[in-house]
Symmetry: C2
Subunit: 239 residues, 2 copies
């Protein structure tokens, strides 16, 4: 049993959103998939602890935006790793209102779908919402959709704790035993973001924010932020 | 409403398989996704007319192989576009037997999962099977998984009629109105496979089977087969 099998399953990344009364909710998920063609219906799997799950249950509607490959780290950080119970996620993004009434985030997005919930199934820790498509459109025909493989391999992100695809860090590290850890000086000290688990490695630097290879974590500018979730340097811990 | 929105949703391609009594069943699908992490459970959406759906319902088990980017056209043709009621799909492939008893096709595969059905939901034309993962492994760590985007854009394949993501050819053609069709001689006559809808265009030739650009359909060797599903030349119709 090689746990990397789970990384061979392909997903996109989506910003799932809803509105109940005056409350807006949204989060980043990799689980949106079409279940029937006639009529077009999508399924999403949402952790039952998520505020968005609570709001979709109340309102019976959801929309989702297909994120772009170059989606903003701040947007992924806010919608993917923070709770709408603590911050107003919609304050800093552009969105339109769908037919259903759900907000559709248009920033960092390639396309969107607007859905009305037709069925709800409780599956252990998650809720599977099935939604019939009411409306859909493309925002940018030429932009590539962000895939989970790209997010994991190129942007070095991991699923947050509430995701259906969450894998404990310890399990991932068990798989890496063949790579001996030799850490002597800060030149090869890696640091991990405590918000999103992004791992900073001086050997590669960070091409997304323009940090050249060979830059130690200490030498990163004070205003450098996590390229994945926008967290500041003090949110990182040495590995 | 731009129907290309549906092509912005990311999927992998999987060979879903099962066994009921002595009968083996399997088909190619793009809908396998993880719905919970603890325990790990996957959902698959299977057309209720598929023999495999019937057999999974009887046996309560399924496995799935994650197909490789360079998966064999014959394998995709047999498992994706033909019915196990007409041919023995497993005759020409290598497979192992999973803990559950399901066959796991190891040809053209990157990784596999073995699952026991815990819930079954009828969603219109399709059945959503939820399965708890019993076992899993990686077959080839370095091979890229085949994604639906790659299959559609590079290998030029379309979903078969029973797929949750099937889009009628007419609807796709409505979207192409901006491209005027100018067809005079056989040099720019395109031909379509009636099995899998692969479109042969002399302008690009077929890099997969080594056919250079500029080769008319008539000039293709008599033993040339559809690079997507393995169909012979007589299964093609002029557009």
């Amino acid at each position: 049993m090689n746990i990397n099998a789970f990384f061979k399953v392909s997903y996109g990344l989506y910003l799932i959103s809803t509105k109940s009364g005056d409350k807006l909710g949204g989060y980043v998920a990799n689980t949106a998939f079409q279940v029937t063609a006639k009529p077009a219906r999508f399924a999403i799997s949402c952790n039952r602890d998520n505020l968005t799950a609570e709001l979709i249950r109340e309102s019976g509607i959801f929309a989702f935006s297909v994120l772009r490959e170059d989606a903003s780290p701040e947007l992924i950080g806010n919608f993917g790793y923070k709770s709408g119970r603590d911050i107003d996620k919609f304050e800093a993004v552009n969105y339109i209102t769908a037919k259903s009434g759900a907000p559709i985030v248009t920033d960092s997005s390639v396309a969107w779908f607007d859905c009305k919930v037709t069925e709800t199934h409780e599956i252990g820790t998650h809720i599977l919402f099935i939604g019939e498509v009411l409306d859909f459109d493309v925002i940018d025909e030429d932009a590539n959709p962000l895939t989970y493989a790209y997010y994991h391999e190129v942007r070095k992100g991991l699923s947050p704790k509430n995701a259906p695809t969450y894998i404990e860090k310890e399990k991932l590290e068990e798989e890496k035993t063949e790579q001996p850890a030799e850490k002597a000086s800060s030149e090869n000290e890696t640091w991990t973001c405590q918000i999103c688990h992004y791992n900073y490695d001086p050997e590669t630097g960070d091409p997304i924010t323009g940090i050249p290879p060979g830059t130690t974590f200490e030498d990163l500018p004070d205003d450098w932020v996590c390229p994945l979730c926008g967290a500041t340097k003090d949110m990182f811990e040495k590995d």
